[in-house]
Amino acid sequence: MLARVKSQWAYIVITLALIFLILLPFDWFLGQYTSLMIFIGINTMVTVGLCLLLGYTGQVSLGQAAFYGIGAYVSAILSKTYGINPWLAMVIAATATGTFAYVIGYLIFRLKGNYLAMATLGLGMIVYIVFRQEGQFTGGPDGMAGIPYLSIGGFTFDTSFSRYYLVWFFCLAVLLISQNIVRSRTGRALRAIHGSEDAAQSIGINADRFKVKIFVLSAVYASLAGSLFAHHMTHVSPSSFGFLASVMVVVMAVIGGLASIWGAIFGAATVCLLKYELLLTFGEWDVVIYGLMLMLVMIFTPEGLFVRLKSIFEQRRLRREAEP
């Protein structure tokens, strides 16, 4: 009975949220935030991957920006330099990133905790150095411009308005897929590995294989986001994919609540708002604020800001319902 009421509410909330998302880019509504929302969507995709890996499976990665960058650069190079269809480039990028993550994951998931964190941090730096140094492919530190837009049939995604829908189509698909995975046998296996790896192995879960698989999935998400980023901006440069970019993914995941799929939107939105709307004139202060946020959230609400707010809200509601 209660469950049915709850699910009815859920449908209403979801419908309203969808209507909101569909109407948002129109000028008479919140059109001025269209490009902000595109960044939020792209960042959400990267963040969800890290939530699956870090929040659900308990495995740290401080190098997610590397996969984001590989996606962006492979898409950019194939579509611009070699004239390959951008969609095909995107698929090739995701496949290449996934394969790369598989090989790396196979090697490094023998490591745990601090060592894994350092290994992924190092990996991210290596990839960043490659972006900077291989100038004949990547344009070096200046990056490359003139990346074509995506298009379907005769329609080209050459306006922010159209790209908004494109990005959010991908973003919602990634969120839905992730939620389905979390609520499945696979999701339980991932949480089991987080809870106790020894216990997970003891009931027949191949922990190493699941870690590698979820690492690959997170890399593919990041790669798709990177490709969308490249075809949205039409120019890319290494500075978007360095150490700070990887830390930003951690910041977004931490704010959203590490073990929360939909919290990723909240995390990405908070960071993008700060970065693109509120702190434009602040110079490096945004980094200071992110550092402070990481420390404060982990010290006071390790489950994440979004999850904490959600549970406070739910408790209030329960208390209200309890009172006649």
Binding site: I177, N180, I181, R183, S184, R185, T186, G187, R188, A189, R191, A192, H194, G195, S196, D198, A199, A200, Q201, S202, I203, G204, I205, N206, A207, K213, L217, A259
Partner: protein, 256 residues
């Protein structure tokens, strides 16, 4: 009845220079309750960890029915039908009671990432079966009313029962119980004994390491005694209790 389900030959394990287990031969007969006892540091836990595959064998052989377990990773042993519990319980603290047991069904289900991501019919079908099976084991250990609670909100006694239920959900042929009685009060120990007998009635072979002598003597049909990494005696509970070497091994240690 007399068929061996688990057999070790010359099983040894050394950590650096320290020999924790030295050429142990043992046979566990199918359908029995067998106990491994011994003073602290006798090598009981090492033996368990070798059977479960936590670390590699230094020397010797372990066979489960006719399969050699050497070099087999732990999760494959579980798929084969061996499961273990832990002294320190190790429940999944980020899950409910029911979810803990559902996770135990892992090796008996097969749908993967793709089926889960796209919610294909196979995922649905298996999820229903998993939930049904999990409820069965939940009721077997008498925790049916606690299904939706967080696993760590249970008192220790019930946590231990839950850990056993989670292990049973893998549908094993052999279950290894590592000090299941530790930290339990008299009443909880009686419940535990009953449960272990019920497990045997399900046709599952039980091998347990236990410190609590009355518990062992009341349950085990066959007792193996380890001391300083070696097997020093085995037999029925009554035989072992009269064995001079066993008494000597326990001298200086309080026999509980």
């Amino acid at each position: 009845m007399s068929e061996a389900i688990l057999e070790t030959r010359g099983l040894s394990k050394a950590f650096g220079g320290l020999v924790a287990l030295n050429k142990v031969d043992l046979i566990v007969k199918a359908g029995t309750i067998t106990a491994v006892i011994g003073p602290n540091g006798a090598g009981k836990t090492t033996l368990f960890n070798l059977i479960a595959g936590v670390y590699p064998v230094s020397d010797g052989e372990i066979r489960f029915r006719d399969v050699s377990l050497r070099n087999m990773p732990p999760h494959k042993r579980t798929a084969l039908g061996i499961v273990r519990t832990f002294q320190n319980v190790l429940l999944f603290d980020n899950m409910t009671v029911l979810e803990n047991i559902m996770t135990g069904q892992h090796p008996r289900s097969s749908y993967g990432f793709l089926e889960a991501a796209l919610r294909l019919p196979k995922a649905h079908r298996e999820e229903e079966a998993i939930t049904l099976q999990a409820m069965k084991y939940l009721n077997l250990v008498g925790l049916g009313t606690h299904a939706q609670q967080n696993a760590l909100s249970l008192p220790l006694g019930q946590q231990k029962l839950l850990a056993i239920a989670r292990a049973l959900a893998t549908e094993p042929q052999l279950i290894l119980l590592d000090e299941p009685g530790a930290g339990l009060n008299t009443l909880e120990k009686r419940e535990l004994s009953d449960l272990i007998r019920r497990i045997k009635e399900l046709g599952i072979t039980v091998l347990l390491v236990e410190h609590d002598m009355p518990l062992v003597m009341g349950l085990a049909e066959w007792v193996i005694v380890l001391d300083s990494g070696q097997k020093i005696a085995e037999g029925t509970a009554a035989q072992v209790q009269r064995d001079q070497r066993v008494i000597a091994a326990y001298l200086g240690e309080e026999v509980e």
